[in-house]
Symmetry: C2
Amino acid sequence: MSPEEFRQAGHQLIDWIADYRAGLAGGPVRSSVQPGDIAASFSVDPPTEPTTIEHLLDQLDKVVVPGMTQVQHPMHFGWFPSNASLASVLGDIASSGLGGLGISWESCPPLTEVEEVVCDWMRTLTGLSSAWRGTIHDTASSACLVALLSARERATGFAQSGGGLSSVAEPPVVYATAQAHSSVRKAALLGGYGADHVRIVASDPATYAMDPTNLVELMAIDAANGLRPAAVVATVGTTGTTAIDPLPEIVVAAAAHRAWVHVDAAMAGTAMLLPECRPLWNGVEGADSLCWNPHKWMGTILDTSLYYVRDVEHLVRVMSTNPSYLQSSADGQVTQYRDWGLPLGRRFRALKLWFHLQLDGVEAIQHRLRRDLRNAKWLAAQVEETPGWELMAPVPLQTVCVRHRPSAEVGDSVLDAHTIAWCDRINASGEAYLTRARLDSQQSTGQSNAGSWMVRVSVGVEATDHAHVARLWDLMRREAEGTSQ
Amino acid sequence: MSPEEFRQAGHQLIDWIADYRAGLAGGPVRSSVQPGDIAASFSVDPPTEPTTIEHLLDQLDKVVVPGMTQVQHPMHFGWFPSNASLASVLGDIASSGLGGLGISWESCPPLTEVEEVVCDWMRTLTGLSSAWRGTIHDTASSACLVALLSARERATGFAQSGGGLSSVAEPPVVYATAQAHSSVRKAALLGGYGADHVRIVASDPATYAMDPTNLVELMAIDAANGLRPAAVVATVGTTGTTAIDPLPEIVVAAAAHRAWVHVDAAMAGTAMLLPECRPLWNGVEGADSLCWNPHKWMGTILDTSLYYVRDVEHLVRVMSTNPSYLQSSADGQVTQYRDWGLPLGRRFRALKLWFHLQLDGVEAIQHRLRRDLRNAKWLAAQVEETPGWELMAPVPLQTVCVRHRPSAEVGDSVLDAHTIAWCDRINASGEAYLTRARLDSQQSTGQSNAGSWMVRVSVGVEATDHAHVARLWDLMRREAEGTSQ
């Protein structure tokens, strides 16, 4: 395709996207597509003849769009917000158009240097000290894997450069609560720690935050048993209830064993753009690594996950490769991001943040975040003052965890069935989308079938204003209370 | 930013990209930017006021573009081709515009099902059997890590679900030649195998292909010493010289120990779109996993790395997480790609291939690949018939490895200095870009300072036609022969 053909098709596509985004709120949040429907509308055989952009846009309209779960829809309250702000979409388009190749500084100097600049900007904007240096990973899951690998190598005296993990005398151990993200357990298993060496630290029954006393106890027991406390993953804003693990106590407990502290602030990092929220991660300066996702609430389009470390030298020692075909005269003077993460090659991801910050402006983003916090508090207040409804956890951020109890004497299994039923009815209607989850789910042990069901209302889609949250609350009452009468 | 503001800015950006691509061949391949120059042109403090798209495009023109190493330039012959075909750029734009969230089938059904369809199309187009099922990873490095983790768990009887790698009696071992990509060693180290358990299999001194007899010997020695041969990484198209490891013999050797065979065809996979090239990966059906990068020579924009496996159940068992908040009624009927790789969340990457295949058409892509193969053969013939010049390796694909010897009696260190000097002169001129590399570089041992220097001419940028290759050859002769007289 020539640049002129691209110009023509590109203009059509931009119009298509603008129309799609403008019309999105008028359709359902979730489609009624069934498994296999979308695949079945395409030929099993690969296409042989080229086609036109008009045909592809028609296919997007007829097959792809009707199948989408619309996470940009103002009535989407599921999972966590996954905003794809149009300013950041422009940055992504610029990145694709430039077609840069990030395998070394030399292969695309601006790709590296804009990433450095933007990571520093984001550090400043979230009130972190200049002791941190950052990079952009694809997701918090990959960042967590990098953190646990870094922890493993520190705990084992760099076993990777010798006999590997099978040669270590004191098996390293990872600590997190049951509320930690599933990627913590996954990273520990992929990192070779083994399920036997993943400890579930108790969490407070009311706040779901890590109990640091239990952390101290578990570490002491492990150390006494010849194991090596290697890493604590502390979550600031857990997936279930946005619980905040107490960083100051965790940092002290970990220091006693020289264990790595990784802070997973995937969701809550965005809140740190607001100075008034920063007390939530007090103690973060004592951690070794830190991750948060602008591609969630802040709205820089996927995949934009910031990963900060205090000891770059250690990170590079764990992750480095330096084959001759990537060596150049600039080595030693520049950052080689290939040695900061898992993949060798990278896209020019920094442009997404660079465009987003500069086109929307930080103040507008802060304004939107404060709106979402207010809306969440409003919803939580409605829940608290309405008979039959209960808040299942504190609301430190923008996620409200609720349950509706049809009558005082209802049993656990009936209550669970009721919760699932009204949530599924709302989701099936296409009018709004919510996530149901098990509150005490032992995610980190892999036993995800324990605990009672609740419904998570995660406020924070860019297009969601107060009227949408009010409409949702009406819908929740109608579906939950209506059927219980 | 509203859809209407996006529409306006988007049209400006599309024009900017079209102009940039159309004008790219008129500028230097590589800029003379110095480390730190680009970062220094931005404020250390984050921007507070929003700005305009015009200002950002101006910054791209003044700071970013002049700093780019232009891998889309027709005179770029460095590393491997990293084509960002404009048809696939449109697919990427569509993906960004849609703003889908891939964390489960339910979160974006078309994201999953189009990926399945496209991976099947690509399997058919490269002549693979239907025993393979595929997914899209970011890079071949990540794919290699997934492969070595899968191999580790098979070899250790799923140690991850128990005591981890520190509990295994027979440490697992990885095998590859010194020509294997640096990501193999990195994956083995990150996977916990340890440097002591990465074996360098001998390669043929003329073809640089793996010596299967040596592989058999090394595995037997390790097994006799209480180690567990766990994985062989066979490369089809090595980074240095596009050497082709002999898959049939490797598969047989590995089977004797039930070792995993991962085929790294990152570069050569594209060639398999041509039926006449498929004998190069004869034996591939006996492998366990296979990776190749459409984002290289084929030209589907970064990051598009295909990863195929024969045993999906095993892959999912190694990679799976299933927290309650991601469970839905569709579970069991659908593919959950989060359990096929490292990150939980994914972009709608399949659209890049979907657009590329349908807008450009397979025949046009095949036509271009055959042009590149002819151009590489032509260059190789010039090198062979010109006194003082030598081919350093066979040319099975589109990469030509050369050296110029200023006189018969020149010593090794003088020859190396000469090679580096003429290559660096060409690169500094901006007229063309080539990669210098050490041929016998012991990449997989981490000792990348061994071996003699050569220059790699990697033909295959979309815009490169015969005239560009002929111009490069003139330039090479001028710079290498001119200074040796």
